[in-house]
Structures are given as C-alpha cells and as structure tokens.
Symmetry: C2
Subunit: 793 residues, 2 copies
C-alpha cells in the first residue's frame, strides 16, 4: 500500500516553488489536471512561422499592463528553438518594459525573464538564468508584474522535434504539459492584487511538431485553452489562415480573434467573409523591415488595435465563464434527462462538461474558485466510449470529411462506401463465421426490435408446418414469446421492453402497454469473491446437495471442457453487472438450435472488445442466428446500430430516416479497424484476438479480499464490484455509494453507480497504466469509505 | 411550353466546338452536370503559393506522355493571374515539349496552348490565341497530344478576386465550373486512341479565393475530383501542409498523394507520421533558384519521382473505378435495406452514390461509359435534407469541431453547451409559446415512444380521480388507446407502430406483436385539382346533401375564419402525402383539450420549414401538449430527435446511450439558426416567419390541369401529385410510375414514389430557380409519360 500513498498525492502548486527543484520532481505524483478559470488564459497560434506572434504577445501584455486594474501578466514560451539568439520571452520582457517606461508613470513594472530548461548546446550560460528589470513608478501608486518564462529551449533554429534529434533534451508531452499547467497556476495566488493574465505562445504554425514530434495543436489539446490566431497578410495568406483556423477547429479549440499584419492585400476582407459568425479580424500596421528599428513607433501605431484585442479577449473570457455558470440553472429549467429523478439532482449536483479529450472529461467547477478539471469518464458515458485522444482526433477529421462528402444520403436501393466498408468489417469481425447480412438502425433498442422482427419471421419460416401463415385463425393462435433472462435490459422502446422481465423500469406508470412477452429465466451467474471465481446457481436450478462451484482462474469458466453441453449476453450490464455463467449460455444456445428457435445475441454492451474480445461469442464458443451491436460500434462518437443476420429472408418493413447514415458508418469503419490494429491499439496481444489484462491481477485479487466488497467481476475493459451493504441499502435505486462516488469525482474519476454496484470502465485502447491508477485510487477510497461507514455503525 | 423545350436541351459536348463561340452560349441550357470516369482526372492543390504546382504538373504530363500507351494529356489552368507574364499553361506547354524532344524519339508530340478569356488589360494580344508545336517523332510511330488551356486570365499578380475587383472580367462560379466540365469532356472523344489524362491546376493555396471570392476548395467541390497536394518543404511547412490537407478533407476531397520539394528539413517524415493511413509523400530535389536555369537537369533528376507519382495516380484511379463498380454486387450480397423487396432490386438498379453536394447526389453510372453524374435528391433522402452546399460545408466544419471537442459525453445529470444551445433554440422556435422542456432521443420513432409515455403519464396525472394508480386492479382496468388518423405513420418500433392504423406495414408477418392500440379516424383531406383546392370529406363525416368544399387559394384552407371550431400532423407523408384538413385538426385539438386528453403533434416530417413554416402548429393556430421533431432537425446530417413537452412531471425511464449526443445537438443548433437567418436563407420572407413560395404558382396550376394528375399538393418545400391510374395500378406498392421515375433520374432528378404519389422535395434554403427547373422537367416528362401510356391503352 505504500506506493499508493505516493501516487495519490495530488495538490495544486505553491507559486514560489516552481523552479527551485527539478521540474520533474512533482510530476509523477499527479493524477488529475486542472486549470484556473479565474483569469484570462489564452494561447497564441499562427498560420505559419514568422507572422509576428511575439510582437502580438508583447502588444497584448503591454495593453493589459497599461490598464489600471491589472496586476500581473504571465507570458510563457513552452518551446523555443534558435536559442539563445532567438528568445521570445526575452523579447517580450524587454519590449514590454521599454514600452511601459515610455507610456506610464503612475505604476512601476517589475519584469522578469526566466529560462527553465535548455538542451546541451544552448544551455551553458543561460539556463536557469533569472533576469529582472524595474521601470516606471514615478508616482509610486503601485507595482505591476510581468513574468516571462521559457520552459524548454534548443539551440538550433529548426522545428523542435529536429532540434531534439540533434541536441537531445527531449521532453515527453505529458511532462511538458505539466510544466505549463504549473506555470498557469502560479499567477493565481496573487490574483487578489488585481487582474491577472496568462498567455502561452506556441512555436511555428498550428500544426508544427513539438519536441516529441506530436503536433502542437494535438499536444496542447487537453487544456483546450481559447486561441488567438495570427493570420498571414501576404499573398497566399488567406488560404494559410483559413486552413490554420480549420486545423484548430478540428481539434476542438475555440478561436477568439484573428490578428494579422497588413501587407496591402486586404486579406482581412476574405477572412471576414469566411468567418461569417462574427469572429473579429484585426489588422496591424505593416511591421518595419529594417532590423535596426526598435519598433516603438510601430507599437504606438498599433496601440488601438491592441486595446481592442485586449477588450475582445477580456469579454470573450467573461462570456465563457458566464456561460459555464449559467448552464446549471438552465439545465435545471429546460432539460429533461433520461432515467433521472430531477428532484434528486439539485442545481449544485449538475456536472458542467466543457469538453472531452480521449477518456477524460474537462469539467467546470466553481467551488472556492473557478476551475476546469479533468475527470476520467469511468462509466464510459453509458458504456459507449472507445477513443483515446489520438483516436478522437482521427475520428473528428473523419467526421468532418464524411459530413462534407456525404452529409447523409438515403440508403434503400443505394450503396455508398462507408455503408459498405462498415458492413464488410462487421462480417469479417463480429459476424465472422456465421453472419451474412447487415441491417442498420439507430440504437441498441431499435437493433433489438429489428432482431425480434427477424426472429419472428425466421421462426415462422422454419416452422411452416405448424403455422399456416395464409390462415388468419392459425396465425392469430400463435403468441410469440421470447425466452430471455431475468434482470436483462435490451432498450426502452416498447418492443425491446417486451423482451425484458418485469422490473421497476417496466411498471405501469412508465409504460402501461408493457406486458412482458417472455419466459424469463433466472440464470447462474459468476463473480469473484475473496480471490476465487464462483458460480452462483439460482434456486430454480440448484438441486439438492449441489454445491457452489469455485474456480481459481476466470479462464476456467470459459473453457469448453465444462461442456457435456444460449439467447443471451455475457454480462447483464444495466441489470447490475451480472456475469451470466458462460456454460449456461452455451447450453441454452444449443438447446434452442436443436429446436429451430432463433437465437439473438444482444451484444450492444458486450461487443467490440468491451469484454476483451471483439465479440462475446468468441468467449462462448458458439454463434447466434442474429446479433445486435451499437455503443462502441462508432468509437463512442454518435449513434448507430446494426443487426447482423444469417440471411435476409424477406422485405423487413422497418427503417429509420437516417438508416446507415454516412457519418455513423464512417466512424464505425474507422473504429472497428483501429480497435484491432496492432499499431494503434497497444492492448492487443500479439495474436490480436484478445486484449491483454488491463487491470492488475494482484490488485484485483486484493480488492476482492476487502470486507467492503461483496462480489467482483473483471474482464476486458470492465472492472465492477458490488458493495457490501446492510439492510435496505440494496438495489438499483440505492444511494449508499453516493459519498464514495463524490470523493472519487474530486479525485478526477467520473463514476455512476448501478445501485450498490460500482464500476470502472475504460476503452479498448486505454493504457493499463491508466487503468491501474484508477484501480489504486478506487481501492484507497473504498478502504477509507469502509473505515468511515464501519465507524458510523 | 416553348421555353421548356429550350431548358430541357442537355447533352454532352462535341470536342471541337468549345471555343468557337462564347463560352456562355450553352451554359444556361444545362441542368445536369457530369464528369467522365473513363480516364484519370486530377486536381493539383498547394499548401501555399509558389510551391511548384506548375513544375509538378509539367513533370506529371511529361511522365504520362512518355509512356507508350498514352495518347493525350489535357492540362487546364482555370484561373490565372499575373497574365501574360505568368502563364502556367504556357509553361507546361513549353517545358513538356522541350522535355519530350530531349527524351523520346519514337513518337511525335503535338502540343497546344490556348487562352480562352482574359480581362481587359490582359486581353489585348493574347486572348483567344492558339499556339501549337510539334516535336519528336523521328521514328514516326505515332502522334501524342498535349493540350494546355487557360480558361480565365487577369493581368495583376494578385488573388483572382482582387484582380476582378481591379480589372473586371468577373465570372460566376457556376459558369466557371461549366467551362471546366466542358474541357474535361473534350478528352473523352479521342480516348480510343490510347490513354488520356486531365489535370486541373488551381491558383494559390487550397483556400485561396477564386474570381467570385468563393474559396477554391469550395468552388470546385461539386466535382470532388481526387487531389494531389503540393506540400511545403520549408520551415513551418509541416504545419501549412497538414492544415491544407485538413482543409481539403473538410470539403470531402480524397487526397491521393502529397508531393513536396526537399528543403533539407525532412518535413516528409513528420507528414508521413501524421498521414498514418499510408498516403504516399514524395520528395522532389531542390529546385535551382537561378532564374536562368532551364530546369531540364532538375526534371531529369526528378524523373523517377514523377514516374512513381504517375503510377500512384494511375493505380488510385483504377482502384476508385473498381471500388465503384464492385459496390453494386457487394450491396446485393451483404446489405439489407429497410422497406425493400430485395428481389425487386436487381444489381443493375442499385444506385451507387459517390457523394453529396448540397441538394444533389453524385452518382456513379456505368452504361455506355463510366461517369459521375449529378442527381437532385428530390426525395430529400427520406425527407431529412436541409443543407445547400454552403450549409453543408459549415456543418462539416462544425461536425469536426464537435467530435474533437466532445466526441460524445453522457447526458443525465450533466450539461454541455450544444445540448443547451439546441434546447434553447427549440423552445424559442418550434416550442415557442407552449413548450418548456426538451427530451432528447435518436429518431422520430423513439421520439414518438417518448411522447406516448409522457402522454400516458400526463393523462393519469390529469385524471387521478378516475384512476387510482396505487390500486393494481384500478390500474389494470385501464386500457390506453391513442386517437389517431387512418393512413398515418409514426415510426417502426413497436410502441410507435401501435399508434398507427392497421396496414400492410403492421401485418402479422412484419410484427406479430402489433395490435393497433388506437381509435383510428378517417380525416378530411385537402388537395388541388384542376387549379382549385378541394376539401375531401370521408364517408364517415359526410352528411347528406353535403358537397365537396372548393377554395380558390390554399391560404383560405388555413384561415381561422373557417372555425366555429387535433393529435395530428398536417401532411400524412408516408401514407401517401395526404394533407389533412387544418380545420379538422384544429377542432380535434380543441375537443381533446377540453377533455384533458393530451395532444401530441408528430412533426417529424412537417417540422422545420418543411411546409414553409418553422412548425406546422403555426398553420393550425393551436398548440399541442407534446410534440416530436427529427429529420430536418440536424440539417439532414445525422440522427437526433426531440420530444418537447409542457412540463416534466416525473422521471421518465427512457433513454438511449447517445441521448443528446454533442454532434447531433451541434448540427441541430447550427441548422435551426441557419434556416431562419435572413442572411443565409434567401427564401425567408422579410418578416421571417414563412418561406416564400418556392414552386411557380402558374406552373403548379397548369400541372394540376393535366389529365395525368389526379390530385396535387404544394406547400413549403413539398410538391406532390397523385397520378391518374387505371384499375389495379394503385396504392403504395404500385410500380406504375417506374418508367417515369427512371427517365427523371436520367434527367438528373432522384425521386422515389409512394405508390402512385410522386413528389419533389427541396430544402428550406433551396433556390426557387432550382425548384422551377425541377418542376419544368417534371411537367415535360409527365406530359410525355401521359402520351405514351395513353397510346398503349
């Protein structure tokens, strides 16, 4: 448990310790990442190199520091090449000081410049050097601060990734980001003294590589800091500026203003007409080309433009904060959430999600101060999520492409590449060996309705000796019922509901038309308890003298050797993460097949690596006649569902307007491919048919021993436990785990309970390191929770 | 009818007439646009100006003409500025001739260069000038041709849109495109003599404006010609190249190769790692900077790169053609279309859709020759479509942004901007004045299921004196039935089906669980016949002596003055485009309201300007308790549905994994705004509450007089007619109109019948000019069809 303590240490930074020790010292102790939202933070990007980012940074800093209520300006150049001759932070430091001295007398300005890390050849003299200047302040009214920092510098004037290749001094993306985050927090402490601003200047163009080779637009994406884009006023600059803008949008950034130097070509006109949405485009006077010019006159001429720019940035900042704050109240007023007792969700408990990057949400919190903080989406947003941040960027580009190429085109009697690509991948993947045709619909529930219609038809076809479909009386004498499992859930449309056993979800007040047209069985389930895998037999099945079966390893459960002999899914997800005994399922399938009863696998939850294999059928060693897929199908980006079948028999009079919509099929084709691409999914075993264990076996074992844990299941991307409770604190509606989950959210893990069952879920490509961080945090909080609740009792 | 004949004239071009008359002479006679797919056609784009597009064009031309089986190379520069000193077509003409003379002796090469249109100051000497050179051919084996063309040229070396401002000579996008198309067809005639290639060179960067100011990436989009991207090898060039690539992808282009000059920075490495999908990146040797260098040595050094590039282009071309050809067979094998009798759709009848641009499909046809041709999507892809080409581009960018910013994030207890924006716009729009809360689901069918659940609950709440919901017996004694209209359709999930009257869609073979839990009424309908609007009263309603009501103008039907007095929709779409009498609907709503019976408007089809108003409720002068929207909600790009309600009463245990998905909400928010933005939707009347008439009233009147037309309805974006038939040729399943629709598809109009009802449907922003072109073509074919079928009988 010792290592745990270290890993769980997480805190904000004190503002003065930053460079006192190695920047790496604190980095590895952190889990969550957050940014202050209490003051304006911007990133300045450019359409190309040498378009004047640093001049504009200086202008903004100068304009901010001029204003009476400002106190601090933090300028940061995370990555500098051509150093020391080129040092943007030093330029800002000098130029802003000079400008301040000339323009203002009332306040003094203390400026500093600091270079934190330099590669070998750049390092010698300047690394760690701290410069300070004090100017102005004749009237002694007060002191303002300009803090300029270069985080990493290389000597050669090339792209940072090349500089690293040549000079060394490489830095991992995560470490660079942590440094940036640290610096952004340093301003906050002094906010009480007045307005504080932070500005991050990127290197080169928007998609220029950073030190690790990651494009900067991708590198900085987790923060999603609002952007200032420096455009290009030259010939060709309209194109370059628009493309750079689109690259930022394709990463989910909000661009707040475009600024460009006037080169006499009126490029701003074309940019304004492109940016119809009213994004401001500001024009700076031509920059003198004479290297001896100190640019003071240019800054004077540009004064009003920078004042406007500052105002634009300031009001965009307040608008954003206001919008985030208003969302809770508005949500309470006009949204109607699914499966939610609105009176149990007071305004304070609503989560405002600003964005997602890979597996994590960026959540707005406004407790003691306004922050944007990361939370791992451990419920995988209702079990839909597949993408890590790299896949999300790829999917976003593909979504833009699919929308531009197709929008949506109608499906019946037509064919287009994404619908075909997706269908082929499904037949080569989850449908391999049994399925031959794909029916598209919109969600798991409709996929089930389609499957049921297909099954009814197939049954009638296979049993034409029993039912004379031409004969009304014969037809009406038939009552179709579905053999299904108790506790199962297949969706919320009436047809799908009919296939699930009566429960609180199917009550008269929810759907008076519900009858429950099934024979519902209580299946044996399996789970881990105190380190062993148990088979739990329901009363209906257990015969006298029969004992609970116990296995050492999970794999034994799936072994065909348990056969002397399925309608089902492996895990009852919504029903509380019950894992149905695979042996039972296999026998059931076999028995149905001998009787010509069509078998449907509802793989909406289990499909696409959710349980560590592409299709849960791989675990059962048997195949269905019909199977339904959704959720992870599109990589978790938008709704699409498919029903796979052995053969189309007749026209199916079922369809939705957006059947086989191009965007969904494109997302699905890409996701299915990436999940099983050895190069992109580090979790695939070399044979590629299964994911390696993502959850540390030793730790899982230890957790299963904990007295707070009643049962545990772990498989593929899923880790779930049922908490030990007393008395009435059981069932789906239980709020027993609420305080535990609240603490885990503060730790940066977004979980949702299913009653007393709580779970962690990742994507097929999530690193096992991340999974184990989650697990450790979880374990630690469970232990704490247990101690507290035991004390109370 | 005379004007019709002219407008309907449409044909391909003979190859020698192109420049013999004004290029405008033929342009206005055309309706459909198509491109040959029989030979490689590429567009060459660049990340910036001056990156060597013309050098690469010359290299490709040279490499193609070197190969023994090539016959012709068409090079086209649609837009040239800095002319005549800068003439890229002349450069290609000269350079390729020179290279050919040096390299090859067997064949002769006849090269030509022609400049079609020049603006004032550029025009004097060169406009219309035709130059020709013949080189090589010592062995006299045969003659090859290089045809170089400049379509429009301006004198000043600035962006084309500025040149137009200064010099005049403007050209509309459509006219420019038609010129390009014309030229692309000119090569085809001579194909029999060997391989033919076409290459279009753009001006400046990918998003540089064309002559009209439209960005070139948007301007050329209707053709969606595969792209070669010339990258930037300089510092900052990685970023510029990636951004340019993304701009092309965001317009739906397929980039086939990236080519760039080696500037010693190894930019290709970063590009390759970005383009993980295996797109080739080719490197050319540094181009000599000495202006006196004739570049012959450079071309020699580059020889192998151009050979590779040519091979890449050739195989990408064959792959594309093969893929398009294979799609039909594959579709027949593995897809299962909704609502389709597969045996009635033999392979030949399958439509291969290559893309969509605004309202039109690009369809692959392989009859006498392979072409990609445009078809207006007159069924609006199951009535979903809203975007014109400008809106599609905006939506595509927003889709990329939403996917990058959010992917999908789970909805319950959470809030995020797109879900809120969309909800607010709905309450200010279609829900204005009555709705107060939004429930999100995935499609029209689920929106209806949700609405029904809400209505049941509301009924129980409002009638708590009748039903004691705590009492099982009291509850079970209630049987909920829906008052609905015969012939109505509300979706294909069981719950939605139950609310529609029995029909062939609800039969035992389709859904044995269907009972039809409604009271189904036969409503009065309205339609135009022989120029007048008729109210048709069903037998149930008609009382003795009552006559058919007839009105001169449609507006009279909607007048509240018809009152001395709804569950309904205005138009029964799937049921055969029946327009239910608005008076009847208003009375029905009123009667239900007095009895506290919740009223649901199914506006899935009618919502969002489909009928010329944002909500059909505006036409009925009354509002519902609950209303459902989908289809046009997202601009026709991906599935999303909403159910609006007066107030959320209790937790609704209904939800789908992707409830309120960010991409759908983003698309919806954008579309709702654009539909009613005076600046973006030219069809809005100044008051902004209705669309102006899109279908020419005189022509509509004339069509209604035609003996082939039984009834007609026209309203908003919809024009529908029922064809006059004999005997058994009636009903949804009828194929009476098949030959008519086949001809209309050849004319470039994609229609789908509802039995004998055929319709034209456009988007809320489609120009009335386009609508009337459709209408005229339709009229002409109807007349022809009538004459033919009359002759047969």
């Amino acid at each position: 448990m010792k290592t745990l303590t270290i890993l769980l240490k997480t805190s904000h930074y004190s503002s003065h310790s930053l460079f006192s020790s190695s920047p790496f010292s604190l980095l590895h102790c952190r889990f969550i990442s957050s940014l202050p939202l209490s003051h304006p933070i911007y990133t300045i990007w450019a359409a190309n190199t040498n378009l004047g980012k640093t001049l504009i940074s200086s202008g903004i800093a100068s304009s901010v520091l001029e204003s009476p209520n400002s106190a601090q300006f933090h300028y940061m150049k995370p990555v500098q090449t051509g150093f020391p001759p080129d040092s943007d932070s030093r330029f800002v430091f000098n130029k802003v000081s000079d400008l301040f001295r000339r323009r203002r007398g009332e306040f003094s300005l203390v400026s500093s410049n600091y270079v934190a890390n330099c590669s070998g050849s750049a390092a010698k003299e300047v690394c760690g050097r701290y410069e300070e200047r004090k100017v102005g302040g004749e009237l002694g009214i007060g002191e303002k601060r300009l803090i300029c920092r270069t985080l990493y510098a290389w000597n050669e004037a090339v792209s940072p990734h090349l500089a690293v290749e040549k000079e060394g001094g490489g830095v991992e993306d995560e470490d660079l980001l942590k440094m940036v985050e640290k610096c952004l927090w340093m301003g906050v402490e002094d906010e009480k003294n007045g307005e504080c601003w932070s500005l991050i200047e990127t290197a080169g163009g928007v998609a220029s590589p950073g030190p690790s080779g990651t494009l900067q637009c991708d590198l900085y994406r987790p923060f999603r800091i609002p952007a200032i884009l420096v455009g290009d006023g030259r010939l060709g600059g309209i194109s370059g500026t628009i493309s750079a803008y689109e690259t930022l949008k394709l990463r989910g950034y909000d661009v707040v203003a475009v600024v460009l130097e006037d080169r006499g070509l009126a490029n701003d006109g074309s940019l304004l007409s492109y940016l119809q949405n009213g994004l401001p485009v500001l024009i700076l006077p031509p920059v003198p080309q004479d290297p001896s010019d100190d640019l003071i006159n240019w800054f004077d001429e540009s004064h009003d433009v920078f004042t406007s720019l500052k105002q634009i940035l300031l009001s965009a900042f307040s608008d954003r904060v206001k919008r985030l704050h208003d969302l809770k109240k508005k949500a309470e007023d006009i949204l109607w959430w699914p499966f939610t007792q609105h009176q149990l969700v007071p305004k304070e408990k609503i989560t405002v999600i600003d964005s997602r990057c890979g597996e994590s949400f960026a959540v707005h919190k406004a407790d003691s101060r306004d922050i944007i903080t990361q939370q791992f989406d451990a419920c995988a947003s209702w079990w839909t999520q597949g993408p890590n941040s790299a896949l999300q960027v790829e999917l976003a580009r593909d979504m833009g492409y699919a929308a531009a190429r197709y929008g949506h085109v109608m499906f019946p009697e037509n064919v287009y590449e994404p619908a075909m690509d997706c269908a082929e991948l499904l037949l080569e993947g989850v449908g391999k060996g049994w399925a031959s045709r794909i029916f598209y619909s919109d969600n798991g529930s409709t996929a089930i309705e389609v499957a049921l219609k297909m099954a009814f038809r197939k049954f009638l076809h296979d049993h034409d000796t029993i039912v004379d479909i031409a004969n009304e009386t014969s037809k009406r004498s038939i009552e179709f019922r579905v053999l299904a499992l108790k506790g199962s859930y297949h969706g919320d449309t009436l047809g799908a509901m009919e296939a699930q056993a009566p429960s609180s979800f199917t009550g008269f007040l929810q759907q008076p038309w519900y009858k429950g047209r099934g024979l519902f069985m209580d299946p044996p389930t399996v789970y881990m308890q105190r380190g062993k895998w148990n088979v739990f037999l329901p009363d209906e099945i257990v015969s006298e003298g029969q004992k609970q079966e116990v296995f050492e390893f999970r794999d034994e459960l799936f072994s065909k050797s348990r056969d002397t002999t399925d309608v089902a899914r492996i895990v009852h997800a919504a029903g509380g993460m019950h894992m149905v005994d695979p042996l039972f399922q296999r026998i059931l399938v076999k028995e149905c097949k001998t009787r010509n009863i069509p078998v449907i696998f509802d793989e909406v939850f289990t499909g696409f690596w959710r349980l560590g294999v592409e299709s849960a059928a791989d675990l059962l060693h048997c195949s269905p006649d019909i199977a339904c897929y959704a959720k992870l199908l599109t990589g978790g980006i938008l709704p699409l569902a498919v029903t796979l079948a052995t053969e189309a028999l007749k026209a199916l009079l079922h369809g939705h307007s957006y059947s086989a919509h191009a965007m969904g099929c494109t997302a699905a084709a890409k996701s299915i491919k990436i999940y099983k691409d050895q190069k992109k999914n580090p979790n695939l075993t070399p044979e590629g048919r299964v994911l390696r264990e993502l959850w540390d076996a030793k730790l899982v074992n230890e957790i299963s021993m904990h007295p707070q844990i009643k049962r545990l299941i772990v498989m593929g991307t899923l880790f779930a436990v049922e908490l030990q409770t007393q008395g009435s604190n059981a069932g789906y509606g239980s709020t027993f785990a609420t305080s535990l989950l609240r603490q885990l959210r503060d730790d940066g893990i977004y979980m949702r309970p299913l009653g007393n069952v709580i779970y962690l879920m990742c994507g097929p490509c999530t690193s096992s390191t991340k999974c184990n961080q989650l697990l450790m945090k979880f374990y630690s909080r469970i232990d704490e929770f247990h101690k507290n609740t035991s004390q109370v009792q």
